[in-house]
């Protein structure tokens, strides 16, 4: 038994233990704390599975940004917790749910234990065109070139989610600014953190975006870091939360998907189809798309956490 094996067994057990905590915890806030830990441990597991790109995404979005979002919700919904305790389903439903869960788990475990042989893989196919694309990170190549249509649609999903969140605002607040945990009195420490951390964070975010071409990293991960830094500045009150009717804000939100779509449609006329890049411009086009996408992703993620408008529009 090697050290790596012991580490893997321990990590897998720990992930399951934290998952049990999330389901069993007494209060929603405690469960959310468990969820943040869960995301962090999953990031370690992804690194062990040789998927550092995913580890970065999990650390940034899965644990960090989602954790912040759920924490807000848990603290706002705290008054409702004791009331819903009486709505716990009976023993019968518990047993049925447990049996169902065990069956599903057993089925998945069987799939894992009886692997297909040889294991299916698209890695060789992905490797063939990497030199042409001049993108050395295969995951970025898949996201930006081979399966670019998935990435484009995912941006649309992000935008739709934001529109959905905004439409839940009461009419009188339409066009106003999101609430985002307004603090009654700003602490000196928080202000200090919000002044010191974002400059470093922005450099790291841009670095993660830039390194995405040759090593794990890319638009999502960089965008999530930028979003977290923006949120930090707004939480500390150093910059106001923007009102959602602002033209510049809406421009930033759509510029990424819009450029991506334009390049995609241009593919009809220049090369040979939707979302195919002209051979000599592949690398520059991918870089341009990634840069604007990062900007849009950062803005959308930040505003999704900030929630629907909760203040009236200022004239």
């Amino acid at each position: 038994m090697t050290a790596a094996m012991v580490l893997d067994v321990g990590l897998a057990l720990l992930v399951v233990a934290v998952a049990v905590w999330i389901v069993a915890a007494g209060s929603a806030f405690a469960a959310v704390v468990g969820f943040v830990s869960f995301g962090l441990l999953l990031a370690l597991a992804w690194a062990r599975l040789a998927a550092v790109d995913v580890a970065l995404t999990e650390a940034a979005i899965g644990s960090g940004v989602t954790g912040a979002l759920l924490m807000t919700a848990a603290s706002r919904l705290r008054p409702t917790e004791s009331r819903s305790a009486g709505e716990r389903p009976g023993a019968f439903l518990h047993v049925v749910a447990a049996v169902l869960a065990v069956l599903v788990s057993a089925g998945l475990a069987a799939l894992v234990l009886i692997p297909a042989s040889p294991a299916p893989s698209l890695a060789p196919a992905a490797a063939v065109h990497l030199p042409e694309l001049d993108v050395l990170n295969p995951v970025t190549a898949v996201l930006m070139a081979y399966r670019a249509v998935d990435t484009l649609l995912e941006k649309i999903v992000l935008l739709l989610a934001l529109i959905g969140v905004w439409s839940l605002a009461p009419d009188r607040f339409w066009g106003g600014a999101p609430g985002l945990w307004p603090r009654s009195r700003p602490d000196g420490e928080l202000t200090l953190l919000a002044r010191l951390l974002p400059p470093i964070g922005i450099v790291v975010g841009i670095y993660i975006l830039w390194v995405g071409a040759i090593a794990p990293g890319g638009a999502f991960q960089g965008g999530a870091i930028l979003a977290a830094m923006w949120l930090l500045i707004m939480i500390a009150g150093l910059r106001p939360v923007p009102e959602i009717h602002r033209q510049w804000l809406r421009l930033v939100l759509v510029v990424g998907p819009a450029v991506f779509l334009t390049v995609g449609f241009a593919g009809f006329f220049l090369p040979n189809g939707f979302l195919s890049y002209p051979a000599q411009f592949t690398k520059p086009l991918i870089i341009v798309i990634e840069v604007v996408l990062t900007l849009s992703i950062a803005a959308i993620l930040g505003l999704l956490v900030a929630g629907p408008p909760e203040r009236e529009r200022q004239r």
């Binding site: 998952a19 389901v23 919904l77 409702t80 709505e87 992905a126 995951v139 190549a141 898949v142 992000l158």
Partner: protein, 113 residues
């Protein structure tokens, strides 16, 4: 047993736990959490498939990995929308429950339908 199989079993357990939590928890927020747990398990399953497909000098098959990255982002958008819906429900009805009895009683408190 290699690392991929181990994490595969771990992901199977996560899916089961998430499913159980999503069914039995009365609070919608806990259901959302459990659903994210379930999603995490499914993503990990993709990771295992990717790891087993290691070839051509890559540590894993990049296609499932890229799909997981897309999946994580989409899961976040869905969570954000669900949480906002829930908060709005609480704002409007004064309760955050999916139970029909409690829902209708709080509606009649507020002046009926």
């Amino acid at each position: 047993m290699n690392a991929a199989t181990l994490y595969g079993l771990c992901s199977a357990a996560l899916v089961g736990l998430g499913l159980f939590g999503a069914i039995v928890h009365p609070q919608p927020l806990r259901k959302i959490l459990a659903f994210n747990l379930l999603g995490g398990g499914v993503f990990l399953q993709f990771g295992v498939i990717a790891r087993r497909g290691a070839a051509a000098g890559m540590g894993g098959d990049p296609v499932p990995q890229a799909m997981v990255i897309t999946g994580i982002v989409v899961a976040f958008s869905a969570t954000a929308l669900a949480v906002t819906l829930l908060l709005r429900l609480y704002q409007v009805s004064g309760s955050a429950t999916l139970s029909i009895e409690t829902q209708s009683s709080s509606e009649s408190d507020g002046g009926g339908r």
